[in-house]
Symmetry: none
Subunit: 202 residues, 4 copies
């Protein structure tokens, strides 16, 4: 092997633990995702190894969120960027998010569970909310969206999206079913927000 970075093993273990943690959270939920379970999932003989690699549970969780966001960002961002106009981008976001269930089901479920349970503290939650709000505000200014309270709508729509995604992930549907689900939800959201709903049609 050529010039492998020396931190390979270390970062390999970290990645392995993060992956295991994501799977466990997706499986049993944030609340029951103990170091024990994660260690077992990762094939480690003790929880000490996790503490060795991560400063604490928060640190591990943060690493999970970062990993998931990287993965999901790589999947979603191109699809969102490909859309033009505020309404079309909203649609693209929703469809990409639902489509992700087919690609990274564990990551999707885990992220939503983490976000749900760390409530206000998480950067991720507030981050996404803020992005939605800002998108709505800009779209309203451009006349693409109705006039509505951006914060309330952002909260309602992101939560609804998460719920649909989580339900879908549990059912493990095929890709066609998933894209139908995505379109269905996107239609709903466009009707709810677009000044002229026809603008955002696929």
């Amino acid at each position: 092997m050529l010039m492998r970075a020396r931190t390979f093993t270390e970062s390999g273990r970290r990645a392995q633990i993060v992956r295991a943690a994501i799977e466990v959270i997706a499986d049993v939920g944030y609340a029951k995702a103990s170091f024990s379970r994660i260690a077992k999932q990762a094939g480690l003989s003790s929880t000490g190894m996790i503490s060795y690699h991560f400063a604490g549970k928060d640190d591990l969780l943060a690493a999970c969120v970062a990993e998931i966001e990287e993965v999901t960002g790589a999947f979603m961002q191109p699809r969102i960027d490909a859309a033009e106009g505020h309404v079309a981008q909203l649609r693209a976001y929703v469809e990409a998010n639902v489509a992700m269930v087919g690609e990274h089901p564990a990551a999707v479920r885990a992220l939503i569970d983490i976000v749900k349970n760390s409530a206000g503290q998480s950067v991720a939650v507030n981050g996404r909310l803020a992005v939605f709000e800002e998108h709505f505000r800009a779209g309203q200014a451009a006349g693409a969206f109705h006039s509505f309270d951006t914060r309330t709508v952002a909260i309602a729509l992101t939560a609804g999206l998460d719920a649909v995604v989580v339900t879908a992930a549990a059912a493990a549907p095929g890709p066609t079913e998933l894209s139908r689900l995505g379109r269905e939800l996107a239609d709903l959201y466009v009707r709810a927000t677009a000044a002229d709903p026809k603008e955002g049609s696929a």
Copy 2:
């Protein structure tokens, strides 16, 4: 003797424990709502008493949900019944639900937390979902609602409603702010679902 139905709060102690549990869950969240805390809140000196009255944590939780639904149902049902037409009833439901934050803040927060953490198992969730679905189906047949996948929309809208309610409960807003919030969200949902959005306006 006529079989008088034994309500879920068959004895005074049970009711007392259930009420304490709801308060604790509302206060510290489902995850940290231990028997210890609940016993303390209920003025009991031992957790054994809880185990004595309830088969387990799940049993207690179920009793909490039942109690909360009774309370909230009593508040919401009249308002929903007062509305005429499918769209108007959807609006009434949403507004009543948001308004409830001002009336029974602990019950509202506790219920959502329980539902969130017991995920798919809960009867309550599925019950409400089924009601929404059925309402949408009937409304579609009557031409009041758009054509859409009732299940997906039910999931998205109930989750969004919960999120708004929970956010509102955390902020402890005044009654006028609450009714504004309710109208805002109801508007959104009517736009999203009504065949002719104007039909459901207040």
Copy 3:
């Protein structure tokens, strides 16, 4: 059994745990006195029982100190009170403290170890130091003691006393040897502090 207080069992357990803790601390030292060891010594099957009866390690430790001080106070106070004059009381204190090794060897060793390791935080340490300082100050005013820095001397003499006591406790000497030791040390301290050393002779 007649009218036993209802808290008997509970307080009995507490006392039992405190006694076990004192023995363990005397045996293996403060640092290694874990809940595990204490539970084993107390014949408890788990450490949970200790946490059940005490708010934490500090609480248990405080209870130990209180228990020890009660025991030792009961032993020493009469002997100190029986002495007249500042110098004689110093002598009485020293001799009583050394004599206690024969009566409550574990308590003595445990107390010193706790005091040593909780350093500045402990009320007990500073309390005894303050008592010594005040005794010296009063004695100086009365012309019984030399002129010296009361704080420094208090620190040196209490530490020396503790060291002698601990050493003696480890050797498990007989009562005559103990009283010889006490006299020896009292002589030293009287010579070191008394304006006229002869005043304090037994």
Copy 4:
């Protein structure tokens, strides 16, 4: 090649680790001086290095004691040797020991903490005790000291000295305050032990 004695700090690494350990013990105390902390202080990336160089924690501790004694011996010995007569040498020892707080505060605090926690096992303690005893015995034979139990007095005085030193080290006093403290304590000890206290006055 001539057998050049391998000092206890045989290699640079060993010395580096010992120095780090002393600093850590002085900083956080014996109880919390873990290999982790020491490795970090020494700039080592792993605790394995410490285990590699030392047979165990005891071994490392022994090396620390040896190192400290070398350092402190170099400071104190000339001052002691400069004094003439048994009483004067006792005074010189006490004053030099207290003065050392200003010169090697870390070494002083670390040594006392190690000695305190390794109790009777330590060679160092017993070594110093033996030196004191022997000094007292010789002084008694020469008529310089009172007649007293040399062992008991040695224990009491060394412990008292340590306590004063440790208290002083915590307060970080200036040099004049330190020398006052040293004189104060030396006075006390001379009064306690000298056949004719005036003999040993500075």
